[in-house]
């Protein structure tokens, strides 16, 4: 709110009283931001800390909040002995990649249909799409389980992958809002040049929509990586488990917490890497969606 007053360069020296208030304002601002950030990051910090502790020093009393005792041994122990981590990683990556491909293709086709064509019932169907955002997943869970069981899909990746090839309402909504902002002259010009609708979608809309495609890809990646209830219900055999199911499995055994923490760190590292690479698309993808009021 006071963004402009903080960002404005001070007319230095001429108004000392104003300058002092500015300094206090700045100290308070940065102080509170640093405090909140530290509190929010605290669980992650402790997780990393404990993952590098040797077994006999995992929990010292009183708690030691620095890397005083340090070992790398937990990681090979957790990732090769405790868990078939590479198998879980492979399963998760396969599922996530297929979901991303499915969502990008399906959602962009559907969003293009909603954004650029007029047909009877379009607006009503779009309202239906928005309404399905509000159907809790768990309400569909039991019949979906029965359906996938009849199809013989339990203990395969299909229940988690196939629905994404038919689009997800929230992603369709994001893309449609973005497509509406692309000037129609570009599309019209291509039409006059005789381009078919699929070609316009592939060669004009897609290249212009990289920010929203990236945002959807990242959201889809995160959702799939973090999904718990879906894999818990649809993947019951050990060899098809995802990383998150692997972590959950650790809770049931009596294990050493420092190894569990190493496994958790390994499980979330890909998420954090992807986040930092594509960070700038996150806010952009939401900002263009028209949620800004």
């Amino acid at each position: 709110m006071s963004a402009s007053s903080v960002a404005r360069p001070a007319s230095a020296g001429t108004r000392p009283a104003f300058g002092r208030r500015k300094i206090i304002d700045r100290v308070l601002t940065y102080g509170s931001l640093a405090l909140v950030s530290a509190i929010m990051m605290m669980p992650l910090y402790l997780m990393i800390l404990i993952s590098f502790r040797p077994a006999d020093r995992a929990f010292t009393y009183p708690p030691d909040l620095w890397f005083t005792y340090f070992t790398l041994d937990n990681y090979p122990d957790a990732l090769f002995r405790l868990l078939p981590f590479s198998l879980y990683l492979r399963n998760t990556v396969i599922i996530a990649s297929l979901v991303i491909v499915g969502e990008l293709v399906a959602c962009s086709l559907v969003a293009y249909g909603f954004a650029r064509f007029r047909f009877p019932g379009r607006d009503a169907l779009f309202v239906v799409l928005l309404a399905t955002l509000m159907v809790p997943f768990v309400v569909r869970l039991v019949p979906l389980f029965i359906l996938f069981q009849k199809l013989g899909w339990i203990n395969t990746f299909l229940p988690l992958v196939v629905p994404s090839f038919f689009g997800t309402p929230f992603f369709i909504f994001l893309m449609r809002q973005f497509f509406m902002t692309i000037p129609s002259e570009l599309v019209d010009a291509a039409r006059i040049d005789g381009a078919g609708e699929l070609r316009i979608w592939a060669q004009i809309m897609m290249p212009l929509s990289k920010p929203v495609l990236a945002a959807v890809a990242i959201f889809a990646f995160q959702n799939t990586w973090n999904d718990f209830l879906g894999p818990l219900v649809f993947l019951q055999k050990a060899e098809v488990r995802t990383i998150i199911l692997g972590l959950y499995g650790l809770m049931g055994m009596f294990v050493e917490w420092h190894l569990v923490m190493a496994a958790v760190v390994a499980a979330v590292t890909p998420l954090i890497i992807v986040f930092f690479i594509f960070q700038r698309f996150f806010v952009k993808g939401i900002t263009v969606s028209g949620l800004k009021g």
Binding site: A3, F114, R118, V135
Partner: protein, 318 residues
């Protein structure tokens, strides 16, 4: 495609026609409509196969007895009768969930709004703070639950140690009937990033002139918050409230992992109860009836919120 070169149905002046909402006539309109349906057909199919179909199926199964290994048999309203008259765990899980939703949604969204206000500045290094506060929201709930399981441990956990330094009593947080629900709400607050980013995007969309006008009228920061920021943010607040209530009603993983519904059913949340009926007792009909009830509850809450919105949501645009 050669025939559409000069007189393509979709080319030229279309935007203006769209804006005027003029109906199209003849084969041009049919052609455009066919393309439209073709493009949205994946979603239409998915809607039938994975959303509408399952909803109808759940409704049908709710009138049956359906132990997973045999076929469903019609029993009429028996499931609902049992749920509403005999099933104490249904009442317990519904109350638990309502308490959780009632505590969590205001705290979660209040925190998200406060953080968004803090972060809505253009000062040096703001990106770092935004990232730091968003980061825990990316962490899977299962991973967060594992971390908190350790931090809350009565023997080795850090929570009791630092609480002790502040003079708080030592509590076995996850086995105390009184504490366990507030603790799960508290733990869930670390994942505040999504509503916070949505608030942040909303704050960025408020025109600067409104603040300038308020300043000219001599408004202080609090007055600007109350009479500019909050009214302008009401559409975003409505969206976040609806989504957060729906999401909070589905609380599952924290209880499933941290407490397994205990102690003494204090964290038996509604979805956990559905999960047990469906995937531990394999009572698909009974679980479907519970699901249908959840659907109706969420639907009614959403409709009430949307209905009330014309009294408190402002849609003026500058």
């Amino acid at each position: 495609m050669a025939d559409v070169r000069t007189d393509h149905p979709l080319a030229g002046g279309r935007q203006a026609a769209l804006a005027r909402g003029e109906p199209r006539r003849g084969w041009l309109a049919r052609r455009e409509a066919l393309y439209g349906y073709a493009f949205i057909s994946p979603w239409l199919f998915g809607l039938l196969a994975f959303t509408a179909g399952p909803l109808l199926a759940a409704f049908y199964f709710s009138f049956t007895e359906y132990p997973i290994l045999s076929e469903p048999t019609w029993i009429g309203l028996e499931n609902y009768e049992r749920i509403f008259t005999e099933d104490e765990q249904f009442i317990t899980s519904l109350i638990n969930t309502a308490v959780y939703v009632g505590i969590r949604v205001p705290l979660h969204l209040g925190l998200a709004f406060g953080l968004a206000l803090m972060l809505n500045r253009t000062i040096r290094g703001i990106g770092f703070f935004r990232t730091a506060i968003y980061l825990p929201s990316m962490i899977p709930i299962v991973a967060m639950a594992v971390i908190w399981r350790i931090l809350l441990d009565p023997r080795v956990g850090y929570v009791n140690y630092f609480g002790g330094l502040l003079g708080l009593p030592e509590v076995n947080w996850l086995t105390s009937e009184a504490w366990v629900k507030p603790v799960i709400v508290f733990v869930s607050l670390w994942q505040v990033g999504i509503p916070m980013i949505i608030f942040l995007a909303g704050l960025g969309g408020i025109p600067e002139q409104l603040y300038e006008a308020a300043e000219i009228d001599g408004a202080n920061p609090l007055q600007k918050l109350v009479s500019v920021t909050i009214p302008m943010m009401t559409p975003v607040i409505l969206y976040n409230v609806v989504i957060d209530i729906i999401n909070s009603f589905q609380v599952f993983a924290y209880a499933f992992i941290l407490t397994r519904g205990g102690p003494n059913d204090a964290t038996l949340f509604y979805v956990l109860y559905i999960y047990r009926q469906a995937f531990q007792y394999f009572q698909m009909g009974y679980a479907s009836a519970l699901s249908a009830i959840l659907f109706v509850i969420v639907l009614i809450l959403t409709l009430i919120l949307l209905r009330s919105s014309n009294r408190w949501v402002h849609y003026e645009r500058i």
